[in-house]
């Protein structure tokens, strides 16, 4: 089973409505605030990108569906801040303790923003298991697609690819495994591959016999064929 965010291939969403190329980056001022507050909180170092993605995915299906994009961000951020013990439920209700927080010294300062954004957070790691697959090799995606490590846990294996047959396009390197990293189980780096699938093997009514979909998949998501 999967969570509500895993929507690749879903039917019923209606047309995509493109915006003008020169439309504002942030349609509303609060969108910009939501993004900035989320990034600034990330700098407190209490979670990683996989944890924060999982927090959004754990919004209830009802909330996930009705919330706009940045509503998901800010709501999941509030949930995460409480879950990680940074804020209390009383804080969110405006009834928390006054004064500076113990983590305040870690707060991202304006003069450190440019360096922090430029530095990024690479996911590649040295070591880890040796690559098991080579470019061109036929593979099958694991089934079921849900996290093998944690019941209901984070994974980056979309449901639509579960059990599908594809071919290794190339090896990206060894990358942190989100399924582990999101849950504080360690980075557990693994070889990460670009894997190509014929659209007609994924969809009963593919649009064109030559079309393909490529996914980035970790070694433990794959089996040799």
């Amino acid at each position: 089973m999967t969570r509500v965010h895993d929507m690749g291939g879903r039917f019923g969403d209606g047309p995509v409505v493109p915006e003008a190329e020169d439309a504002p980056v942030f349609a509303e001022n609060w969108h910009a605030r939501a993004l900035a507050v989320t990034l600034a909180c990330g700098a407190l170092g209490q979670w990683n990108i996989d944890t924060s993605r999982h927090a959004r995915e754990r919004l209830s299906p009802k909330d996930y569906t009705r919330f706009s994009y940045y509503e998901k961000w800010i709501s999941a951020l509030a949930d995460l801040l409480v879950e990680k013990g940074v804020l209390t439920r009383e804080d969110l209700q405006g009834q928390g303790a006054a004064g500076l927080h113990a983590l305040a010294e870690r707060a991202l300062k304006a003069d450190a923003v440019a360096a922090a954004l430029a530095k990024g957070g690479p996911a590649s790691r040295e070591g880890g298991p040796k690559p098991r697959f080579h470019p061109g090799q036929a593979v099958r995606v694991r089934i079921p697609a849900d996290s093998a490590l944690v019941d209901g846990g984070h994974t980056r294996l979309p449901q639509y690819a579960a059990g599908a047959h594809g071919y290794i396009l190339w090896l990206h390197g060894t990358h942190v495994l989100p399924d582990s990293s999101a849950h504080g189980l360690g980075e557990a780096p693994e070889p990460l591959y670009a894997v190509r699938f014929a659209a007609r093997t994924l969809w009963a009514h593919a649009e064109h016999p030559e079309d393909e979909v490529v996914l980035d998949l970790w070694q433990s998501y794959l089996e040799p064929l």
Binding site: H5, G14, F26, A40, A76, L117, A118, R196, V214
Partner: protein, 204 residues
């Protein structure tokens, strides 16, 4: 175990999204956990400094310089680092080239992964349920909604950004641009053409 809260803490904040953001921001500022000046700096960065103009420069250079293009397609990261286009959400870049035989298109079905240092913050449609759900299953219908119809002989390859690798499409250079310099070429490179939902503009 992940916690599936029956009562998510976010429900304690005001329901209106603008007020919800404001309330959380205020609490965090009072506790010294975020610095208002840092927020302004982050917003200014993505509103004014980092955007598709970066990607357009890379594409225009690739159109003009075969050696640069070959290096970019072979291993984009060192090339982009040298140009200063490295950073958050662009740590592992792959550039994929459109040809007469193959058109590339990028999506993130699971969230909204996007090459920030080259394209900035993704547009609303890229983050929409409709795009995330449909781009992998019916890319040609989605392309039609952007006004693009590909020839029958062109296959579509859709890249679902499921890891920390970020993809940039190198669109085909429009005909009749042989005499243009890099700056004029960059003006033809739209954001959507580098996501793969559009083609580069034809000079007027």
């Amino acid at each position: 175990m992940p916690h599936d809260h029956p009562d998510h803490p976010h429900a304690l904040l005001p329901p209106d999204p603008a007020l919800r953001v404001k309330a959380l921001e205020t609490i965090l500022i009072q506790k010294g956990l975020i610095d208002p000046a840092a927020l302004e700096e982050i917003i200014d960065t993505y509103q004014n400094r980092i955007g598709p103009q970066n990607g357009a420069r890379v594409v225009a250079r690739a159109w003009s310089d075969p050696e640069f293009k070959a290096a970019l397609l072979a291993d984009a990261d060192p090339v982009l680092v040298e140009l200063g286009f490295y950073g958050r959400q662009g740590e592992h870049m792959v550039v994929v080239e459109n040809t007469a035989l193959q058109h590339n298109m990028v999506v993130c079905t699971l969230c909204s992964c996007y090459p920030w240092p080259l394209l900035g913050i993704p547009p609303g449609w890229y983050k929409s349920d409709a795009y995330r759900a449909r781009a992998v299953r019916e890319p040609r219908k989605v392309l039609a909604e952007f006004g693009v119809t590909l020839p029958e002989g062109t296959s579509v390859r859709v890249w679902d950004s499921t890891a920390e690798v970020r993809y940039l499409v190198l669109p085909m250079r429009p005909e009749g641009t042989e005499d243009l310099n890099e700056e004029d070429l960059a003006a033809l490179v739209t954001r959507d053409s580098m996501i793969g939902t559009s083609l580069a503009k034809v000079p007027s």
